[in-house]
Symmetry: C2
Subunit: 229 residues, 2 copies
Amino acid sequence: MVGRGRSVETRAPLSRDRVLRAAVKLADEGGIASVTMRRLAEELDAEAMSLYHHVANKDQVLDGVVDAVAAEINEAVSRLTLPAEGPAWKEAARRRILTARQVLLGHPWAPAVFSTRTTTSPEVLLYFDGLLGIMRAGGFSNDLAHHAMHALGSRAIGFSQELFSPTGGPTTGEPDPAMAAMAAQLPNLVGMLAEVAHDDPDSTLGWCDDQAEFEFGLDLLLDGLDRRR
Amino acid sequence: MVGRGRSVETRAPLSRDRVLRAAVKLADEGGIASVTMRRLAEELDAEAMSLYHHVANKDQVLDGVVDAVAAEINEAVSRLTLPAEGPAWKEAARRRILTARQVLLGHPWAPAVFSTRTTTSPEVLLYFDGLLGIMRAGGFSNDLAHHAMHALGSRAIGFSQELFSPTGGPTTGEPDPAMAAMAAQLPNLVGMLAEVAHDDPDSTLGWCDDQAEFEFGLDLLLDGLDRRR
DNA sequence: ACCTGAACACCGTTCAAGT
DNA sequence: ACCTGAACACCGTTCAAGT
């Protein structure tokens, strides 16, 4: 609407950055499947083929989108200022990771995209470098810090993909028929579910775990690493 | 070629089972992207549209493929006969999980597909039920066992998606130019890589971790769970 | 240089028709 | 009942052409 003084002629200058921002916006609104080159172009009032002057192909769009989300995470964690020397490393790492998770809650489609990327984004590397710095300050050897990064896996950046969600939704009165048919063959699962309320009231990160379970697993790992420090 | 006595007329009887087996075969040969309804049909000497008489849609094909791989895992772990009472639970769980991983090594595309599935496969539920049984035998409360399943996440079934693979290949003499440009901003990462050989000689499970790192993370979790038992 | 229209080689899926 | 051909509504991307 404003145009910052400059008026009209050519509507929009189009750029790699504008393309990536539009992609994040589309994904936030309708999931990652709604990010197609054609709809991306439409969002930018251009033709699909024009995008190829700013990104090599769709894969590069997804790489860029991951980098953009990771940049948002880095921006958020940069505001944290906790001591990390000695035993303080654990709380510093914990806060960093939970802050990353908080950012991802705003982009529920992002973890799935992160997982598909084969080339590591520069911003993700920056994030890991910072976490590594906390561990080094805490007294980790490079070798143990290396193991730690692998052990944390995606948890290091705030998400954990779950394939164990036996109920799939709030345990309403109506029983899942398929589940009921198998019940006899799943004695331990049925017994457990009868005892623990497996609600996941609003499983916030899509197919991911909810906050309490994420923190349980995170603390399990951080405690174990602290012991080996 | 043989046809088991019955000769000719109609070539292939086509069935849900045959469709799923063909899908696994295609994925093993060319990755999951090569599993399309059209190529699947071709593999079965049929037309793409014929498949829809045996599966509702492509999503159901992928569900079935996951179920088939999980069935293969269950078959493999069923041959294990380890005691699980008391402290023995840990070795039993460990062996079960590493056996699952061994099966997945034969289907490197499978972890990514597992992660995208929203409905849990019956065979995956059976697998989890067995693991839960081991934990119960080991003395876990239902509540702790529940947390444990979430904490293990996909590791419970033998894989862990890594987004941390800073080098991306064997550290040959030639330096990654993009990496080199960022090196100054990644002091901890560069320092660590200089010290630990981050080879991943043949990172077996695609974008996943290698065996040693998988076991380190697994033991970290199992040890932590054992302590809270 | 930046952008575009038409076209190509694919997708999953619907539908009406065959046996 | 099981299978199929043609067609529809999408994809990502190439190419030759426009300014």
